[in-house]
């Protein structure tokens, strides 16, 4: 006998709930909760991580991310304008840059800058030490993604806006700066925030540059503690710290998107 669509939807939903309940039950049966707690949530290890996990590691992660994002945003804007330029070589250069850094893993960029540059240019180094290299590497990778986002944002601003600005006597550069770019950034704020979340996680690659106690960021800090304890609690600790950064950002993005939806 054929079920009505509504009845069938209800049956399917109950099946889904049942599968979920079985999975949770199986987990509780097979898992030894005491061991789990010792391995993942050892209080002593948490206590040992405190307060360095915040005042050194989280702080450094925030600094690397902020510097990398700022540099990446500026470079991304320049690349976006180059992509839209009427001058051929600018367009080709920007396209080449974007394709390269979007296609190459961030890990490779970090290794190239951290190890490759000192080898290729003996006696010279990227200024700013770890922070300088981290800013450069995160910025180069971030810029490649952000450039395409910003370009799309600029193109999403109606042509009439430029025409109105030009008809008031504004030169093209002024119209771009005062009228088009501010509107473009409004449009791309949600995707740019997503990019910030991705960069936050990519900043964990700074550990590839080698570290001292002063330059430890979250991932390196987690590994350090992990080496001392035969225990996964440090990973849980740093995961919580990453989530402390990324979850609020996600919420902000969702708010902005729903507000943009309403404004339409």
């Amino acid at each position: 006998m054929a079920m009505s669509p509504r009845r069938r939807a209800r049956v399917i939903r109950w099946v889904q709930y049942a599968v979920l309940v079985v999975a949770v039950a199986a987990f509780l049966v097979f898992a030894d909760l005491a061991t789990l707690r010792d391995v993942f949530f050892d209080r002593e290890v948490f206590a040992e991580m405190w307060p360095d996990v915040i005042v050194v590691a989280l702080r450094n992660t925030l600094i690397y991310t902020a510097c990398g994002f700022t540099f990446g945003l500026l470079l991304g804007l320049v690349l976006a304008l180059m992509r839209l330029s009427s001058v051929g070589p600018y367009r080709w250069l920007a396209t080449g840059f974007i394709e390269f850094f979007r296609g190459v893993p961030a890990l490779v960029v970090f290794i190239a800058l951290g190890t490759g540059v000192p080898l290729a240019f003996p006696g010279r180094e990227i200024p700013g030490g770890t922070l300088g290299i981290a800013t450069l590497a995160l910025g180069l990778v971030g810029a490649a993604y952000m450039a395409e986002t910003i370009r799309a944002g600029i193109q999403a601003v109606p042509k009439g806006q430029t025409e109105a600005a030009r008809s008031l006597g504004m030169p093209a550069s002024r119209a771009m700066r005062s009228i088009v770019i501010p509107q473009a950034f409004r449009i791309v704020l949600p995707p740019l925030t997503n990019e910030l979340i991705l960069l936050t996680k990519d900043s964990s690659l700074v550990y590839l540059l080698g570290y001292t106690t002063a330059t430890l960021e979250l991932a390196a800090f987690g590994r350090e503690v992990l080496n001392q304890e035969k225990n996964l609690t440090p990973l849980v600790g740093i995961a919580i710290c990453y989530l402390l950064i990324t979850v609020p950002l996600s919420i902000v993005v969702r708010r902005m998107e729903s507000r943009a939806e309403k404004a339409r």
């Binding site: 009439g160 806006q161 109105a164 008809s167 030169p171």
Partner: protein
């Protein structure tokens, strides 16, 4: 090189043998046309006739393919002319208003005054207030465009153009995007401007406005001017057969 100065005693707008192609498509097929100082010239015609393109060539938002355009005696089709400078003397109002949505009404009116005309903030605000009053929207200076009706937005757009103290105004179908009950307010503001002696070139479908306010009516079709003359005369006794058929459809 001395910079060309605007001259008096010549037409405000003088278009000579203007051609414009979009790709292979010839949109303007040799236009000769002028607007005298303090005149209101209305351009009518079916859609696709090239009337908006003609208007947009006058401040070079469209680049003419060939021909010459003089604005107050300055050849703006000369590649060496500073087109930004000439544009400050030509106000333009668009069908879709094109207010800057990220700026308040006041900032919409002051930004070009400050950035282009290099006026101080106080002076710019004063000029803006004067023009907002002229269009009857003094109380809206802190509002953002999205909170205004279409008619209000278009009046703000007119005030924005006026704040540059232009010598002439171009209107590109200024009431075509408006709800019918809002058209009157915008036309009223335009009529006031005409009374003050502003030189105006208006692409429009408002035959009543053309008859009442216009000094000259131009009928375009297929990229050429088919007929021009006194508005009452052209509307009452169109000579050209295509003018007759167009008017019979819109009147």
């Amino acid at each position: 090189m001395t910079e060309p100065q605007p001259r008096t005693g010549v037409p405000a707008i003088d278009v000579q043998n203007l051609h414009k192609y979009f790709g292979d498509n010839e949109v303007l097929k040799g236009i000769d046309f002028h607007v005298d100082n303090s005149d209101v010239v209305c351009v009518i015609g079916p859609s696709g006739s090239g009337k908006s393109t003609l208007l947009r060539c006058v401040n070079r938002l469209e680049e003419p393919t060939s021909g010459k355009i003089f604005v107050e005696g300055i050849e703006i089709t000369d590649p060496d002319v500073d087109v930004d400078k000439v544009r400050t003397r030509i106000g333009m109002v668009f069908q879709s208003f094109n207010l800057f949505p990220h700026l308040s009404v006041m900032r919409n009116l002051t930004i070009a005054q400050q950035r282009v005309k290099k006026r101080g903030k106080d002076e710019a605000v004063e000029v803006a207030r004067k023009n907002l009053q002229k269009v009857g929207l003094s109380e809206k200076e802190d509002a953002f465009p999205a909170h205004l009706s279409g008619g209000q937005q278009q009046r703000v757009a007119i005030a924005r153009a006026l704040s540059m103290d232009p010598d002439m105004m171009l209107f590109d179908e200024p009431t075509s995007a408006l709800d019918p009950e809002l058209v009157g307010d915008v036309l009223g503001v335009m009529k006031d401007l005409a009374t003050e002696g502003m030189t105006m070139m208006v692409v429009t479908h408002e035959m009543g406005f053309a008859r009442e306010v216009g000094d000259k009516l131009v009928f375009m079709d297929g990229g050429v001017i088919l007929e021009e003359g006194d508005p009452t005369e052209v509307l009452a006794n169109p000579r050209h057969e295509r003018t007759q058929s167009f008017l019979s459809k819109v009147l």
